[in-house]
Protein backbone atom coordinates (compact mmCIF):
# COMPACT_ATOMS: atom_id res chain seq x y z
CA UNK A 1 0.00 0.00 0.00
CA UNK A 2 1.04 3.60 -0.47
CA UNK A 3 1.45 5.51 2.79
CA UNK A 4 0.27 9.10 3.18
CA UNK A 5 1.10 11.21 6.19
CA UNK A 6 -0.68 14.52 6.22
CA UNK A 7 -1.68 17.58 8.15
CA UNK A 8 -5.28 18.62 7.56
CA UNK A 9 -7.32 21.54 8.82
CA UNK A 10 -10.40 20.46 10.75
CA UNK A 11 -13.24 22.96 10.77
CA UNK A 12 -15.18 20.76 13.21
CA UNK A 13 -12.36 20.52 15.73
CA UNK A 14 -11.15 24.01 14.77
CA UNK A 15 -7.54 22.88 14.72
CA UNK A 16 -5.00 21.32 12.36
CA UNK A 17 -4.77 17.56 12.91
CA UNK A 18 -2.38 14.91 11.59
CA UNK A 19 -3.85 12.06 9.58
CA UNK A 20 -2.26 8.88 8.19
CA UNK A 21 -3.77 6.98 5.28
CA UNK A 22 -2.90 3.75 3.47
CA UNK A 23 -4.11 3.42 -0.13
CA UNK A 24 -4.06 0.03 -1.92
CA UNK A 25 -1.34 -0.21 -4.53
CA UNK A 26 -1.92 0.00 -8.25
CA UNK A 27 -2.93 -3.64 -8.68
CA UNK A 28 -6.14 -3.06 -6.76
CA UNK A 29 -8.66 -0.78 -8.45
CA UNK A 30 -11.25 1.41 -6.77
CA UNK A 31 -13.80 2.28 -5.68
CA UNK A 32 -12.45 1.05 -2.35
CA UNK A 33 -13.89 0.20 1.04
CA UNK A 34 -12.82 2.57 3.79
CA UNK A 35 -11.61 1.52 7.23
CA UNK A 36 -11.44 4.16 9.94
CA UNK A 37 -9.08 3.10 12.73
CA UNK A 38 -9.30 4.94 16.04
CA UNK A 39 -6.39 4.96 18.46
CA UNK A 40 -6.36 4.32 22.22
CA UNK A 41 -5.78 6.77 25.07
CA UNK A 42 -2.38 8.48 24.80
CA UNK A 43 -2.20 7.42 21.16
CA UNK A 44 -2.32 9.25 17.85
CA UNK A 45 -2.46 8.73 14.09
CA UNK A 46 0.72 6.62 14.16
CA UNK A 47 -0.38 4.11 16.82
CA UNK A 48 -2.05 1.49 14.60
CA UNK A 49 0.79 1.50 12.10
CA UNK A 50 3.38 1.06 14.83
CA UNK A 51 1.63 -1.66 16.83
CA UNK A 52 0.06 -3.86 14.13
CA UNK A 53 1.30 -5.05 10.78
CA UNK A 54 -1.87 -3.71 9.20
CA UNK A 55 -0.83 -4.31 5.63
CA UNK A 56 -0.42 -8.04 6.17
CA UNK A 57 -4.12 -8.23 7.12
CA UNK A 58 -5.74 -5.67 4.82
CA UNK A 59 -4.48 -4.73 1.38
CA UNK A 60 -7.56 -3.80 -0.63
CA UNK A 61 -9.22 -1.04 1.42
CA UNK A 62 -8.25 2.55 2.14
CA UNK A 63 -7.23 2.70 5.80
CA UNK A 64 -7.73 6.05 7.50
CA UNK A 65 -6.01 6.72 10.82
CA UNK A 66 -6.94 10.05 12.43
CA UNK A 67 -5.52 11.63 15.55
CA UNK A 68 -8.14 12.74 18.06
CA UNK A 69 -6.12 13.37 21.23
CA UNK A 70 -7.65 12.04 24.47
CA UNK A 71 -11.12 13.12 23.38
CA UNK A 72 -12.96 9.77 23.53
CA UNK A 73 -14.11 10.78 20.03
CA UNK A 74 -17.02 12.79 21.43
CA UNK A 75 -18.00 16.41 21.09
CA UNK A 76 -16.16 17.44 24.23
CA UNK A 77 -17.91 19.41 26.94
CA UNK A 78 -14.90 21.72 27.03
CA UNK A 79 -12.78 21.07 23.95
CA UNK A 80 -12.96 19.68 20.46
CA UNK A 81 -16.00 18.47 18.51
CA UNK A 82 -14.33 15.18 17.64
CA UNK A 83 -17.52 13.19 17.06
CA UNK A 84 -18.48 15.64 14.31
CA UNK A 85 -14.98 15.36 12.93
CA UNK A 86 -15.03 11.55 12.83
CA UNK A 87 -18.58 11.02 11.62
CA UNK A 88 -18.90 13.92 9.19
CA UNK A 89 -15.93 16.05 8.26
CA UNK A 90 -13.24 13.37 8.03
CA UNK A 91 -15.49 11.25 5.83
CA UNK A 92 -16.34 14.21 3.63
CA UNK A 93 -12.66 15.06 3.22
CA UNK A 94 -11.56 11.51 2.44
CA UNK A 95 -14.41 10.86 0.05
CA UNK A 96 -13.72 14.15 -1.70
CA UNK A 97 -10.16 13.00 -2.36
CA UNK A 98 -10.03 9.24 -2.66
CA UNK A 99 -11.89 6.71 -4.77
CA UNK A 100 -14.24 5.40 -2.04
CA UNK A 101 -17.75 4.00 -1.96
CA UNK A 102 -20.12 3.77 1.01
CA UNK A 103 -18.67 0.55 2.47
CA UNK A 104 -17.32 2.17 5.63
CA UNK A 105 -16.06 0.36 8.71
CA UNK A 106 -15.01 1.98 11.97
CA UNK A 107 -12.80 0.13 14.45
CA UNK A 108 -10.84 1.12 17.50
CA UNK A 109 -8.85 -0.06 20.47
CA UNK A 110 -9.49 0.92 24.09
CA UNK A 111 -10.74 4.51 23.95
CA UNK A 112 -10.93 4.00 20.17
CA UNK A 113 -13.19 0.99 20.72
CA UNK A 114 -15.58 3.23 22.62
CA UNK A 115 -15.15 5.78 19.82
CA UNK A 116 -16.01 3.24 17.13
CA UNK A 117 -19.24 2.22 18.89
CA UNK A 118 -20.11 5.84 19.72
CA UNK A 119 -19.55 6.87 16.08
CA UNK A 120 -21.61 3.94 14.76
CA UNK A 121 -24.52 4.85 17.07
CA UNK A 122 -24.25 8.55 16.25
CA UNK A 123 -24.04 7.94 12.50
CA UNK A 124 -25.81 4.61 11.92
CA UNK A 125 -26.30 5.25 8.21
CA UNK A 126 -22.65 6.19 7.68
CA UNK A 127 -20.89 3.10 9.03
CA UNK A 128 -21.74 -0.41 7.87
CA UNK A 129 -19.82 -2.13 10.68
CA UNK A 130 -18.18 -1.18 13.97
CA UNK A 131 -15.51 -3.13 15.82
CA UNK A 132 -14.36 -2.44 19.35
CA UNK A 133 -11.17 -4.11 20.60
CA UNK A 134 -10.75 -4.08 24.40
CA UNK A 135 -13.11 -1.12 24.27
CA UNK A 136 -13.49 1.26 27.22
CA UNK A 137 -17.24 1.09 26.74
CA UNK A 138 -18.11 2.53 30.12
CA UNK A 139 -15.95 5.65 30.42
CA UNK A 140 -18.18 6.74 33.33
CA UNK A 141 -16.05 4.65 35.67
CA UNK A 142 -13.16 7.05 35.13
CA UNK A 143 -14.98 9.69 37.18
CA UNK A 144 -13.99 7.53 40.15
CA UNK A 145 -10.66 6.18 38.80
CA UNK A 146 -9.06 9.30 37.30
CA UNK A 147 -7.00 8.91 34.15
CA UNK A 148 -3.62 10.66 33.99
CA UNK A 149 -3.72 14.22 32.63
CA UNK A 150 -7.41 13.97 31.71
CA UNK A 151 -10.36 15.67 33.36
CA UNK A 152 -13.50 13.63 32.73
CA UNK A 153 -15.57 16.81 33.21
CA UNK A 154 -13.76 18.41 30.27
CA UNK A 155 -14.55 15.49 28.00
CA UNK A 156 -18.03 14.46 29.12
CA UNK A 157 -19.19 17.22 31.44
CA UNK A 158 -20.35 16.62 35.03
CA UNK A 159 -20.91 12.99 35.98
CA UNK A 160 -24.71 13.34 36.14
CA UNK A 161 -24.69 14.98 32.70
CA UNK A 162 -22.68 12.10 31.26
CA UNK A 163 -25.15 9.51 32.49
CA UNK A 164 -28.02 11.40 30.86
CA UNK A 165 -26.17 12.04 27.59
CA UNK A 166 -25.79 9.91 24.47
CA UNK A 167 -22.10 9.61 25.31
CA UNK A 168 -23.23 6.98 27.80
CA UNK A 169 -23.66 4.13 25.35
CA UNK A 170 -26.67 2.76 27.24
CA UNK A 171 -28.49 5.97 26.31
CA UNK A 172 -27.02 6.14 22.83
CA UNK A 173 -28.59 2.83 21.78
CA UNK A 174 -31.95 4.56 22.25
CA UNK A 175 -30.63 7.94 21.18
CA UNK A 176 -32.29 10.43 18.87
CA UNK A 177 -30.35 9.30 15.81
CA UNK A 178 -31.62 5.78 16.27
CA UNK A 179 -35.33 6.50 16.46
CA UNK A 180 -35.92 5.68 12.82
CA UNK A 181 -32.98 3.43 12.09
CA UNK A 182 -31.03 0.66 13.72
CA UNK A 183 -27.32 0.64 14.49
CA UNK A 184 -24.93 -1.17 12.15
CA UNK A 185 -23.56 -4.57 13.25
CA UNK A 186 -21.21 -4.14 16.21
CA UNK A 187 -18.47 -6.62 17.06
CA UNK A 188 -16.78 -6.54 20.46
CA UNK A 189 -13.36 -8.23 20.61
CA UNK A 190 -11.19 -8.97 23.63
CA UNK A 191 -11.90 -7.81 27.16
CA UNK A 192 -15.15 -6.43 28.53
CA UNK A 193 -17.47 -7.46 25.72
CA UNK A 194 -19.88 -9.75 27.58
CA UNK A 195 -21.66 -7.15 29.70
CA UNK A 196 -22.36 -5.05 26.59
CA UNK A 197 -23.45 -7.89 24.33
CA UNK A 198 -27.13 -7.62 25.19
CA UNK A 199 -27.26 -3.81 25.39
CA UNK A 200 -25.59 -3.24 22.04
CA UNK A 201 -27.00 -6.40 20.40
CA UNK A 202 -23.37 -7.03 19.59
CA UNK A 203 -21.39 -10.02 18.42
CA UNK A 204 -18.72 -10.88 21.00
CA UNK A 205 -15.36 -12.48 20.15
CA UNK A 206 -13.38 -12.93 23.35
CA UNK A 207 -10.45 -15.00 22.15
CA UNK A 208 -8.25 -15.08 19.11
CA UNK A 209 -6.46 -12.40 17.18
CA UNK A 210 -8.59 -9.23 16.87
CA UNK A 211 -6.66 -8.28 13.74
CA UNK A 212 -8.02 -11.38 12.05
CA UNK A 213 -11.53 -10.43 13.12
CA UNK A 214 -10.95 -6.97 11.68
CA UNK A 215 -9.59 -8.40 8.41
CA UNK A 216 -12.56 -10.78 8.17
CA UNK A 217 -15.07 -7.97 8.71
CA UNK A 218 -13.35 -5.85 6.09
CA UNK A 219 -13.59 -8.75 3.63
CA UNK A 220 -17.31 -9.19 4.41
CA UNK A 221 -18.04 -5.48 4.04
Amino acid sequence: MDFLHMQIQSEAARTPLPLDVLVPNGEHKGPFKSVYLLHDLAGNNTSWMRKYSLESYIDDAVIIMPSCLNSFYVNMYYGYDMLDYITKELIEICEGWFDLDDRRLVAGIGMGGYGAVRAALAAPKVFKQAISIDGLLDPGKFYDEPLPALKMEDVFGPKEYFYYSDNCLKNAVHGKNLLFTSPPPITLCGKGGQEWQEILKAEVVETGNPMEVLAQKVREL
Partner: protein, 257 residues
Protein backbone atom coordinates in the same frame (compact mmCIF):
# COMPACT_ATOMS: atom_id res chain seq x y z
CA UNK B 1 -5.68 22.88 2.57
CA UNK B 2 -3.86 19.72 3.47
CA UNK B 3 -0.15 19.14 3.52
CA UNK B 4 0.56 15.51 2.66
CA UNK B 5 3.72 13.48 2.60
CA UNK B 6 2.99 10.48 0.47
CA UNK B 7 5.16 7.44 -0.15
CA UNK B 8 4.25 6.09 -3.53
CA UNK B 9 5.57 2.76 -4.76
CA UNK B 10 7.01 3.04 -8.25
CA UNK B 11 7.04 -0.09 -10.34
CA UNK B 12 9.28 1.63 -12.90
CA UNK B 13 11.93 2.38 -10.26
CA UNK B 14 11.06 -0.52 -7.93
CA UNK B 15 11.34 1.99 -5.11
CA UNK B 16 9.16 3.86 -2.62
CA UNK B 17 9.34 7.53 -3.57
CA UNK B 18 8.38 10.29 -1.13
CA UNK B 19 6.14 12.94 -2.66
CA UNK B 20 4.73 16.13 -1.16
CA UNK B 21 1.12 16.88 -2.08
CA UNK B 22 -0.57 20.18 -1.23
CA UNK B 23 -4.27 19.87 -1.91
CA UNK B 24 -7.56 21.66 -1.12
CA UNK B 25 -9.69 19.74 1.39
CA UNK B 26 -13.06 20.10 -0.29
CA UNK B 27 -12.46 20.04 -4.05
CA UNK B 28 -15.56 21.29 -5.84
CA UNK B 29 -14.29 20.66 -9.36
CA UNK B 30 -11.36 18.75 -10.88
CA UNK B 31 -8.25 20.37 -9.45
CA UNK B 32 -5.73 22.25 -11.53
CA UNK B 33 -2.38 20.67 -10.69
CA UNK B 34 1.22 21.88 -10.71
CA UNK B 35 3.89 19.19 -10.83
CA UNK B 36 6.98 20.79 -9.37
CA UNK B 37 10.61 19.63 -9.47
CA UNK B 38 13.50 20.34 -7.08
CA UNK B 39 17.12 21.24 -7.82
CA UNK B 40 20.27 19.13 -7.91
CA UNK B 41 20.68 18.91 -4.14
CA UNK B 42 16.99 19.07 -3.32
CA UNK B 43 14.12 16.80 -2.44
CA UNK B 44 10.32 16.82 -2.16
CA UNK B 45 10.35 19.05 0.95
CA UNK B 46 12.22 22.16 -0.21
CA UNK B 47 9.61 23.99 -2.26
CA UNK B 48 7.26 24.01 0.73
CA UNK B 49 10.02 24.93 3.16
CA UNK B 50 11.64 27.79 1.26
CA UNK B 51 8.76 29.44 -0.60
CA UNK B 52 5.21 30.65 0.02
CA UNK B 53 3.94 28.04 -2.42
CA UNK B 54 1.24 26.63 -0.13
CA UNK B 55 -0.23 30.09 0.35
CA UNK B 56 -0.33 30.72 -3.42
CA UNK B 57 -2.00 27.33 -3.91
CA UNK B 58 -4.41 27.84 -1.02
CA UNK B 59 -5.61 31.18 -2.38
CA UNK B 60 -6.33 29.56 -5.75
CA UNK B 61 -7.62 26.05 -4.89
CA UNK B 62 -4.61 24.56 -6.68
CA UNK B 63 -3.12 21.14 -6.10
CA UNK B 64 0.68 20.87 -6.06
CA UNK B 65 2.64 17.63 -6.39
CA UNK B 66 6.37 17.68 -5.59
CA UNK B 67 8.19 14.38 -6.13
CA UNK B 68 11.72 13.44 -5.21
CA UNK B 69 13.85 12.44 -8.20
CA UNK B 70 17.16 11.95 -6.37
CA UNK B 71 20.18 12.57 -8.63
CA UNK B 72 18.42 11.52 -11.83
CA UNK B 73 18.13 14.98 -13.44
CA UNK B 74 14.48 13.98 -13.99
CA UNK B 75 15.34 11.94 -17.07
CA UNK B 76 15.85 8.27 -17.95
CA UNK B 77 19.35 7.63 -16.59
CA UNK B 78 21.89 5.93 -18.82
CA UNK B 79 23.37 4.27 -15.72
CA UNK B 80 20.36 4.10 -13.46
CA UNK B 81 16.58 4.05 -13.52
CA UNK B 82 13.92 5.52 -15.80
CA UNK B 83 12.99 8.54 -13.69
CA UNK B 84 11.68 10.25 -16.82
CA UNK B 85 9.06 7.54 -17.29
CA UNK B 86 8.25 7.61 -13.59
CA UNK B 87 7.72 11.39 -13.54
CA UNK B 88 5.93 11.81 -16.85
CA UNK B 89 3.76 8.69 -16.78
CA UNK B 90 3.63 6.53 -13.65
CA UNK B 91 3.55 9.31 -11.03
CA UNK B 92 0.83 11.22 -12.87
CA UNK B 93 -1.25 8.09 -13.36
CA UNK B 94 -0.77 6.88 -9.77
CA UNK B 95 -1.57 10.25 -8.20
CA UNK B 96 -4.75 10.48 -10.28
CA UNK B 97 -5.70 6.98 -9.09
CA UNK B 98 -5.19 7.95 -5.46
CA UNK B 99 -6.82 11.36 -5.92
CA UNK B 100 -9.51 11.13 -8.59
CA UNK B 101 -10.21 14.81 -7.86
CA UNK B 102 -7.06 15.84 -9.80
CA UNK B 103 -7.92 17.13 -13.25
CA UNK B 104 -6.83 14.92 -16.14
CA UNK B 105 -7.12 17.74 -18.65
CA UNK B 106 -3.98 18.92 -20.39
CA UNK B 107 -4.94 22.56 -19.92
CA UNK B 108 -5.21 22.04 -16.13
CA UNK B 109 -1.78 20.43 -15.69
CA UNK B 110 1.48 22.35 -15.46
CA UNK B 111 5.02 21.19 -14.84
CA UNK B 112 7.60 23.42 -13.21
CA UNK B 113 11.00 23.26 -11.61
CA UNK B 114 14.12 25.07 -10.54
CA UNK B 115 17.73 24.64 -11.61
CA UNK B 116 18.13 20.94 -12.51
CA UNK B 117 14.38 20.72 -12.12
CA UNK B 118 14.01 23.51 -14.69
CA UNK B 119 15.77 21.29 -17.20
CA UNK B 120 13.65 18.42 -15.86
CA UNK B 121 10.33 20.18 -16.36
CA UNK B 122 11.28 21.33 -19.87
CA UNK B 123 12.17 17.74 -20.66
CA UNK B 124 9.02 16.26 -19.10
CA UNK B 125 6.75 18.90 -20.64
CA UNK B 126 8.14 18.46 -24.15
CA UNK B 127 8.32 14.67 -23.86
CA UNK B 128 4.70 14.47 -22.62
CA UNK B 129 3.03 17.48 -24.29
CA UNK B 130 -0.31 15.65 -24.28
CA UNK B 131 -0.22 15.65 -20.44
CA UNK B 132 1.06 19.13 -19.64
CA UNK B 133 -0.38 22.39 -20.96
CA UNK B 134 2.37 24.67 -19.63
CA UNK B 135 5.93 24.63 -18.37
CA UNK B 136 7.49 26.92 -15.75
CA UNK B 137 11.28 26.60 -15.88
CA UNK B 138 13.17 28.66 -13.32
CA UNK B 139 16.96 29.08 -13.52
CA UNK B 140 17.86 26.32 -15.89
CA UNK B 141 18.16 25.32 -19.50
CA UNK B 142 19.04 22.40 -21.73
CA UNK B 143 21.36 20.02 -19.90
CA UNK B 144 21.25 17.85 -23.02
CA UNK B 145 23.42 20.32 -24.92
CA UNK B 146 26.63 19.83 -22.94
CA UNK B 147 29.50 17.40 -23.39
CA UNK B 148 29.95 14.99 -20.51
CA UNK B 149 33.10 13.09 -19.61
CA UNK B 150 34.21 11.40 -16.42
CA UNK B 151 37.17 13.52 -15.30
CA UNK B 152 37.11 11.97 -11.85
CA UNK B 153 35.26 14.82 -10.13
CA UNK B 154 32.02 14.12 -8.34
CA UNK B 155 29.98 16.49 -10.50
CA UNK B 156 31.25 15.00 -13.75
CA UNK B 157 30.74 11.46 -12.56
CA UNK B 158 27.20 12.24 -11.57
CA UNK B 159 26.41 13.72 -14.96
CA UNK B 160 27.88 10.68 -16.71
CA UNK B 161 25.65 8.44 -14.62
CA UNK B 162 22.67 10.33 -16.03
CA UNK B 163 23.68 11.12 -19.61
CA UNK B 164 26.57 8.72 -20.36
CA UNK B 165 29.84 9.84 -21.94
CA UNK B 166 29.63 12.44 -24.71
CA UNK B 167 26.95 14.89 -25.77
CA UNK B 168 23.32 13.71 -25.61
CA UNK B 169 22.08 16.47 -27.93
CA UNK B 170 20.56 14.01 -30.40
CA UNK B 171 18.77 11.96 -27.76
CA UNK B 172 15.61 12.23 -25.66
CA UNK B 173 17.75 13.87 -22.95
CA UNK B 174 17.94 17.01 -25.06
CA UNK B 175 15.20 19.62 -24.62
CA UNK B 176 15.94 21.04 -28.06
CA UNK B 177 15.85 17.59 -29.66
CA UNK B 178 12.49 16.88 -28.05
CA UNK B 179 11.18 20.26 -29.23
CA UNK B 180 12.36 19.61 -32.81
CA UNK B 181 10.72 16.18 -32.74
CA UNK B 182 7.47 17.70 -31.53
CA UNK B 183 7.58 20.35 -34.24
CA UNK B 184 8.20 17.70 -36.93
CA UNK B 185 5.27 15.63 -35.69
CA UNK B 186 3.14 18.75 -35.68
CA UNK B 187 2.28 18.20 -32.01
CA UNK B 188 0.87 20.85 -29.70
CA UNK B 189 3.54 22.58 -27.61
CA UNK B 190 3.01 23.40 -23.93
CA UNK B 191 3.21 27.14 -23.25
CA UNK B 192 6.64 27.89 -21.79
CA UNK B 193 7.54 30.38 -19.07
CA UNK B 194 11.29 30.67 -18.50
CA UNK B 195 12.67 32.72 -15.60
CA UNK B 196 16.18 33.56 -14.47
CA UNK B 197 17.86 35.83 -11.95
CA UNK B 198 19.85 38.82 -13.09
CA UNK B 199 22.83 37.76 -10.98
CA UNK B 200 23.07 34.09 -11.97
CA UNK B 201 25.18 32.54 -14.73
CA UNK B 202 22.17 31.42 -16.73
CA UNK B 203 20.71 34.92 -16.33
CA UNK B 204 20.72 35.38 -20.08
CA UNK B 205 18.52 32.37 -20.70
CA UNK B 206 21.06 29.89 -22.05
CA UNK B 207 20.27 30.74 -25.68
CA UNK B 208 16.82 29.26 -25.24
CA UNK B 209 15.06 32.45 -26.34
CA UNK B 210 16.42 32.32 -29.89
CA UNK B 211 15.66 28.62 -30.13
CA UNK B 212 12.09 28.76 -28.89
CA UNK B 213 11.29 31.89 -30.88
CA UNK B 214 11.76 29.68 -33.96
CA UNK B 215 9.44 27.02 -32.56
CA UNK B 216 5.66 27.01 -32.97
CA UNK B 217 5.05 27.74 -29.29
CA UNK B 218 4.38 30.49 -26.83
CA UNK B 219 7.64 31.23 -25.02
CA UNK B 220 8.19 33.95 -22.45
CA UNK B 221 11.56 34.70 -20.88
CA UNK B 222 11.87 36.94 -17.86
CA UNK B 223 14.87 38.14 -15.87
CA UNK B 224 14.23 39.04 -12.22
CA UNK B 225 16.42 41.97 -11.16
CA UNK B 226 18.70 41.86 -8.13
CA UNK B 227 18.45 38.12 -7.48
CA UNK B 228 20.67 35.16 -8.29
CA UNK B 229 20.40 31.39 -8.19
CA UNK B 230 18.40 31.42 -4.95
CA UNK B 231 15.02 30.75 -3.32
CA UNK B 232 14.22 34.48 -3.28
CA UNK B 233 14.04 34.24 -7.06
CA UNK B 234 12.13 30.96 -7.23
CA UNK B 235 9.50 32.19 -4.78
CA UNK B 236 8.89 35.22 -7.02
CA UNK B 237 9.10 33.16 -10.20
CA UNK B 238 6.62 30.48 -9.15
CA UNK B 239 4.20 33.20 -8.04
CA UNK B 240 4.50 34.99 -11.36
CA UNK B 241 4.15 31.70 -13.24
CA UNK B 242 0.92 30.87 -11.44
CA UNK B 243 -0.63 34.31 -11.12
CA UNK B 244 0.38 35.99 -14.38
CA UNK B 245 1.59 33.44 -16.90
CA UNK B 246 -1.09 30.86 -16.11
CA UNK B 247 -3.49 33.63 -15.07
CA UNK B 248 -4.81 31.69 -12.07
CA UNK B 249 -6.08 34.37 -9.70
CA UNK B 250 -6.96 34.10 -5.99
CA UNK B 251 -10.48 32.98 -5.15
CA UNK B 252 -10.15 33.11 -1.37
CA UNK B 253 -8.21 35.08 1.17
CA UNK B 254 -9.14 32.91 4.12
CA UNK B 255 -6.12 31.64 6.00
CA UNK B 256 -5.42 29.60 9.06
CA UNK B 257 -3.35 31.45 11.64
Amino acid sequence: MAYIELNVYSKVLNLEIPVTVIIPQFPKEPLKTIWLYHGSTGDHTLWARYTNLERYARERNLAVVIPTAHKSMFTNMVHGQDYGVFLGEELVQRLREIFPCLSKKREDNFVGGLSNGAYGCLRTGLRYPETFGAIGAFSGGDAGERYYTDDGTYAARRSVLVFGEGCPSETEHSVKWLARQLKEKGGQFPRIYHAAGELEISGQGDGMTEFFNDMPCEYQFEVFPGVGHEWKLWDQAVYKFIDEFLGIKPVTTKYYV
